[in-house]
């Protein structure tokens, strides 16, 4: 059914440009792994290397323990959804989906049957006779998925399949893809630019930068416990306040336990402040596990479901806070231009090093 993928020491250079730099990752059978990273970080190249369209300079790719790095793409039996769908414009929707079966010598009747079932899985069964250019972006994307799953490959690769869709359709498709992953149980390697999409869909997220994996972890861990400033910045909104003693005017008192666990030993430790984890302190009663700091409210923006406060701390750090819009939280909001006190629970707090970590193994 699903296959495991074991990637070790994978390298790819274009001239002097190192696009994949010693990539090692093991993907469990049935896992949904998302590759996330800025443009040019090597996501597509990694996917193309797994599919066999790009030949690496070094390294190994094993599927279920079998080395495939030198195998031609058509012998790998991997389903792929290209970023621009790559549907065949001279074939109908049904013919597109049946094509991989035709290549495998499946007879006409069974072919049509299975193509129909794959189309049904993406709720496109009534479109089998349509031409590709008669479909909307979202429909094309679903056909591309159907074509990638119809021959029941053990591994499915998807390269930013939802990037062309508008927000609403995209969220709908995220749910559908997730559901499909659950029903098919195949190993999926997914590429996206969109951090929210990555967090929503994946079992694990790998953050890439300049051809290296900076961190690979579950969505919760990668959000709450980023390994360095780059990962923290890339996933979600983040503010950082220095925890060194020469804290430039911001006095952050942390408990000894927290200091020992999170701060000691880190070069240039920075407290990570996520917008939704910051509290606004209205009463002066002292709770020991709160890290407190003061700032000035620059603006207060009501957004319907959220209210966003931008604040500046004494050292010039700009922060974003985010609260729900229930009456009791709305009452505590600071007036624009006023000083107010904020805090974060130590159990919500995370400290990263301001000095970029070199390589990191999970």
């Amino acid at each position: 059914m699903a296959s495991s993928i074991e990637i070790a020491g994978l390298r790819k250079n274009y001239g002097s440009l190192s696009v994949l730099d010693d990539i090692s990752v093991s993907i469990k059978a049935g896992e949904f792994l998302t590759l996330l990273g800025p443009s040019g970080s090597g996501k597509t190249t990694l996917l193309m290397t797994i599919a066999g369209f790009v030949r690496p300079n070094a390294g190994s790719i094993k599927v279920d323990g079998r080395e495939i790095v030198t195998l031609a793409p058509h012998k790998r039996n991997i389903g792929m959804v290209f970023q621009n769908y790559a549907l065949f414009p001279h074939m109908s929707v049904g013919e597109n989906v049946a094509y991989p079966l035709k290549l495998r010598g499946v007879g006409r009747g069974e072919r049509d049957d299975r193509a129909k079932r794959a189309l049904a899985a993406v709720r496109m069964e009534q479109y089998a006779d349509r031409r590709i250019d008669q479909l909307s972006g979202g429909q094309r994307q679903r056909v591309a998925v159907a074509r990638a799953i119809v021959f029941e490959p053990n591994i499915i690769l998807m390269d930013e399949p939802l990037s062309a869709l508008d927000k609403r359709l995209r969220e709908e498709m995220q749910v559908e893809l997730k559901r499909l992953h659950e029903t098919l149980g195949r190993t999926i390697v997914y590429v996206t630019h969109d951090q929210k999409e990555a967090l929503t869909m994946s079992d694990r997220v790998a953050v890439l930068k300049s051809g290296r994996i900076r961190q690979i972890a579950s969505p919760r861990d990668i959000y709450d416990k980023p390994v360095d400033r780059f990962v923290a910045d890339f996933i979600g909104d983040s503010g950082f306040v220095s925890l060194t003693d020469r804290g430039r005017g911001v006095d952050l008192a942390v408990s000894d336990g927290f200091r020992a666990a999170h701060v000691t030993g880190k070069a240039d430790p920075l407290l990570l402040l996520r917008p939704e984890k910051i509290e606004i302190v209205s009463s002066p009663d002292a709770q020991p596990d709160l890290i407190r700091f003061d700032g000035v409210a620059d603006d207060v923006l009501f957004q319907g479901d959220l209210v966003v406060v931008h604040a500046t701390l004494a050292d010039g750090t700009r922060l974003r806070l985010q609260r729900g819009t229930r009456q009791n939280t709305m009452r505590d909001l600071p007036a624009v231009g006023s000083r107010f006190r904020m805090a974060i629970h130590e159990e919500d707090a995370w400290v990263v090093s301001g000095v970029q970590a070199g390589e990191h193994a999970p």
Binding site: F53, P73, H74, N84, L103
Partner: protein
């Protein structure tokens, strides 16, 4: 107030549109005077003998058996040249699309340079190469492959070679444009779905380049039908095409009516072919 102003401005725009249209009248008149009127005049000529209406020119084409041979030669030549051009040109063009950008630009320049050279010069060059004591015969004799010179110029063979050379760019450029517009991910996708490289080419690339192939072949064929210089020079009087016959009718016999009748038939044939291809192509594209 502003509504009135808007109305005035809109009227002004409309007037300007009409003025722009009026400017087009002069060029249109020139086209009518220089292109359409002479064509109509030739058409009229073909239906008259000594000023009186007559179908004699067309009747002659049916009665005189030499005309059938001329039509046959013309179509054979055009057909053969087109087939060879396609067989040579398609793989060449495909190979050019596979080259890295800089090399493909160079390869296209190599196709284009002869295209910019005078037709006459290139035809004479082929005469030098193919004639009895020409370069090619010299090589073959020196290599001991033949004992006496082959007759390559002044023949159907020589004409075909020369015309293929001249037609190739006409075929390659449009085909190249159409091949470049094919998304490379499509053949990749086929490959990834399980097709061997050959199969991916046959199932995806070939059908997608078919339109360009047909358009290029049709252009080549139509150009061949009316070709004059090369059959005249490389055929050396042994290859009589429609165009040569038209020229003879005018220069040798001073019979404009007969020449016009041939020209009319050629135009009708080409027109019908284009129409047929449009109908067929239209159905294919749906």
């Amino acid at each position: 107030m502003s509504l009135q102003l808007n109305a005035r401005l809109l009227t002004a725009l409309e007037t300007r549109g009409k003025a722009e249209l009026a400017l087009m009248v002069l060029p249109s008149l020139m086209i009518v005077a220089l292109v359409i009127a002479p064509a109509i005049w030739l058409g009229v000529l073909s239906f008259s003998v000594d000023g009186a209406p007559s179908l004699a020119h067309y009747q002659r084409m049916i009665d005189n058996s030499s005309y059938a041979a001329i039509f046959l030669t013309t179509f054979q030549l055009a057909g053969l040249v087109t087939v060879i051009t396609v067989v040579v040109g398609y793989p060449t063009t495909y190979a050019i699309t596979l080259l890295p950008p800089r090399l493909s630009a160079l390869a296209l320049a190599c196709v284009a340079i002869p295209f910019w050279t005078s037709l006459l010069v290139r035809t004479y060059a082929w005469m030098v190469i193919l004639q009895r004591n020409g370069i090619l015969n010299g090589w073959l004799l020196d290599a001991g492959l033949i004992e006496r010179p082959l007759r390559m110029s002044n023949s159907f063979f020589g004409t075909t070679v020369g015309m293929v050379h001249i037609m190739l760019p006409f075929f390659i450029f449009p085909l190249y444009a159409s091949m470049r517009s094919i998304d490379g991910n499509l053949t990749r996708a086929a490959h990834g779905l399980g097709a061997t490289p050959t199969r991916a080419f046959l199932d995806v690339f070939l059908p997608l380049s078919k339109q360009g192939l047909i358009a290029g072949a049709l252009l080549t064929f139509v150009l061949c039908l009316g070709f004059y210089v090369t059959p005249q020079l490389l055929g050396g009087g042994n290859v009589t095409t429609l165009s040569i016959k038209i020229q003879q009718n005018v220069i040798v016999y001073a019979d404009w009516g007969a020449a016009s009748a041939l020209a009319v038939v050629l135009v009708v044939i080409v027109g019908l072919m284009l129409l047929a291809s449009r109908l067929l192509g239209g159905r294919g594209a749906d």
